[in-house]
């Protein structure tokens, strides 16, 4: 009996090691094949970094002339920021409804639970860049394209995050309130949401931060916002103006990060 158990254990570890070798071997092979196919020379890539740095320092800085474009930059930046915040907050309302309906512990009906979870999974698994490409067909190069791309992406992600927060924090007190005879809406408003609130807010802030970064990139694709302006200056070889945009974006991201950390501290503390 004991010997048998020991042999089983040995088999288990041998099998596990074999799987590990197989995995790393395959990974190496794929990396090599990809490098060959794309003619990517790693050594050359590395050795070009110092040159790129030198070029960056000598060309990529804002000068007096580019500062004249500051109002334009600011206007598009604000547009991008507002779009990200609007897309996230609206998405979070929808996500909350879907999370409540799909929650394992407080959802109302097994069919509805499954349906709302499935919808959220579909939306979550399509990346925002994929969304913007899809939406480019229907809306064209338009602010709406970026807005909806962010909206759909955030909706999927937030539903998933909210589901977990709610199931983790709200189920015990919800049970107690249901036992007092409280109605569904009361249970949600008085126990589930208050219990999960810090986590929900934390996720929304995280999503706003992420979306502001994404929005800039999406702007290049959809020809809107500060991303579009960057693309324009860059293509016109106006590196000074383009670098101004980069500085402004970096600063605004830092400000936003700082602000949302502050909100988190106040809300949770």
């Amino acid at each position: 009996m004991l010997i048998k158990a020991r042999r089983k254990q040995v088999d288990y570890f041998t099998a596990k090691r074999r799987h590990a070798y197989l995995f790393w071997g395959l990974l190496l092979l794929v990396t090599y094949a990809a490098a060959v196919l794309t003619q990517y020379d790693f050594v050359q890539g590395l050795s070009s970094i110092p040159g790129a740095l030198v070029w960056g320092v000598t060309h990529f800085y804002p000068n007096a002339e580019s500062l004249a474009k500051f109002p334009d930059v600011l206007r598009t930046l604000v547009e991008t920021l507002l779009m990200s915040i609007a897309a996230t907050t609206v998405a979070s309302v929808f996500a909350l409804v879907f999370a409540l309906l799909g929650s394992q512990t407080i959802g109302v009906h097994a069919g509805i639970k499954l349906a709302s979870r499935s919808i959220a999974t579909v939306f979550r698994n399509i990346d925002v860049t994929a969304w913007s490409m899809i939406l480019l067909f229907s809306f064209g190069q338009n602010v709406m394209t970026g807005y909806f791309a962010l909206f759909f992406g955030s909706f999927g992600f937030l539903t998933r995050a909210f589901l977990e927060s709610i199931d983790e924090t709200g189920s015990h007190s919800a049970e107690a309130l249901r036992a007092t005879g409280a109605g569904y809406i009361s249970v949600i408003c008085q126990s589930v949401i208050p219990a999960a609130l810090p986590q929900l807010i934390s996720w929304i802030l995280f999503m706003i931060e992420t979306n502001i970064r994404n929005a800039t990139l999406i702007g290049i694709l959809t020809g809107t916002g500060v991303g579009f302006l960057f693309n324009l200056y860059y293509k016109n070889l106006d590196y000074n103006a383009a670098s101004l945009i980069v500085f402004v974006i970096v600063i605004s991201i830092l400000v936003i990060e700082f602000t949302s950390n502050y909100i988190r501290k106040v809300m949770i503390g």
Partner: protein
């Protein structure tokens, strides 16, 4: 006296495999203090939750004041639940909210959807919450957040939330299983007081035999979903305990030791 609660041949099946309760029949008089004891997995929690239909029994009848709760529609079910308080092992409070807010939650069963949604409570209700918290020795804690309380204090908030419902009956599922001996004694004393002085029927799931013997008017012993003992603490013998706990008897000895130490 008339029976407040009556189980008639109640069974509960989870899925196709687990039979949690088998042909359970007993009755509880108004104002009685009843403990349900038995090994873990015997079906104590299931039995208790079948009363206010947090779990639906599979067959049989459960009557409260002569009315079969299994036939209740949504509205009657809600009304029945407002008259039954429930107390949990893990207190089930909203930890981020204040003691006061948690106690007032006990009134939500009486509210319209709008008032419940917005959490609108009347002045009398707040006064009553104050009064109950005073009786339970929590007047200092009224506006504290519940995550700042000790386990024993949290459980007293749980009791206050149940009492403000104005219940006929309290269902307590292992109310002292997470508490130290001193806090346990405080909670059990409060429950006994509620039964004796307020005339509220109290049904408690316990795993400490000593505690059950000390506080109860009657003990119901459950083993593998069946009632194997139903009598007063005075009639309890070690043979009966053997039947209730079966081979797990040794574990109960250890529990008793713990209780006595406290």
């Amino acid at each position: 006296m008339t029976a407040l609660l009556e189980f008639k041949h109640v069974s509960k099946q989870y899925g196709s495999e687990t039979r949690a309760l088998t042909d359970v029949s007993f009755s509880v008089r108004s104002g009685e203090f009843v403990s349900i004891i038995g090994p873990s997995g015997a079906g104590k929690s299931t039995l208790l939750r079948c009363i206010n239909r947090m779990i639906d029994a599979s067959s049989g009848e459960i009557c409260i004041e002569g009315k079969n709760v299994l036939e209740f529609r949504k509205k009657e079910l809600k009304r029945m639940r407002t008259s039954i308080g429930m107390i949990f092992q893990h207190y089930n409070l909203v930890d981020r909210l204040s003691v006061m807010e948690n106690v007032l939650h006990g009134r939500l069963g009486y509210k319209s959807t709008l008032a419940g949604m917005l959490g609108l409570y009347r002045e009398e209700e707040k006064q009553q919450a104050y009064q109950i918290l005073g009786i339970l020795g929590l007047e200092e804690q009224v506006y504290k957040r519940c995550d700042q309380l000790s386990g024993g204090q949290k459980q007293r908030v749980g009791i206050a939330r149940a009492l403000i419902q104005g219940p006929k009956m309290l269902l307590c599922d292992e109310p002292i299983a997470s508490l130290d001996p001193n806090a346990s004694k405080v909670i059990m004393d409060h429950l006994r007081h509620i039964s004796t002085n307020l005339g509220i029927t109290v049904i408690v799931n316990l795993h400490q035999v000593e505690t059950a013997l000390k506080y109860s008017d009657r003990i119901i012993g459950v083993n593998q979903g069946k009632i194997v003992y139903n009598g007063t603490p005075g009639q309890m013998t070690s043979e009966e305990l053997q039947r209730i706990y079966g081979s797990e008897r040794r574990d109960t000895r250890a529990d008793q030791g713990e209780t006595q130490a406290g």
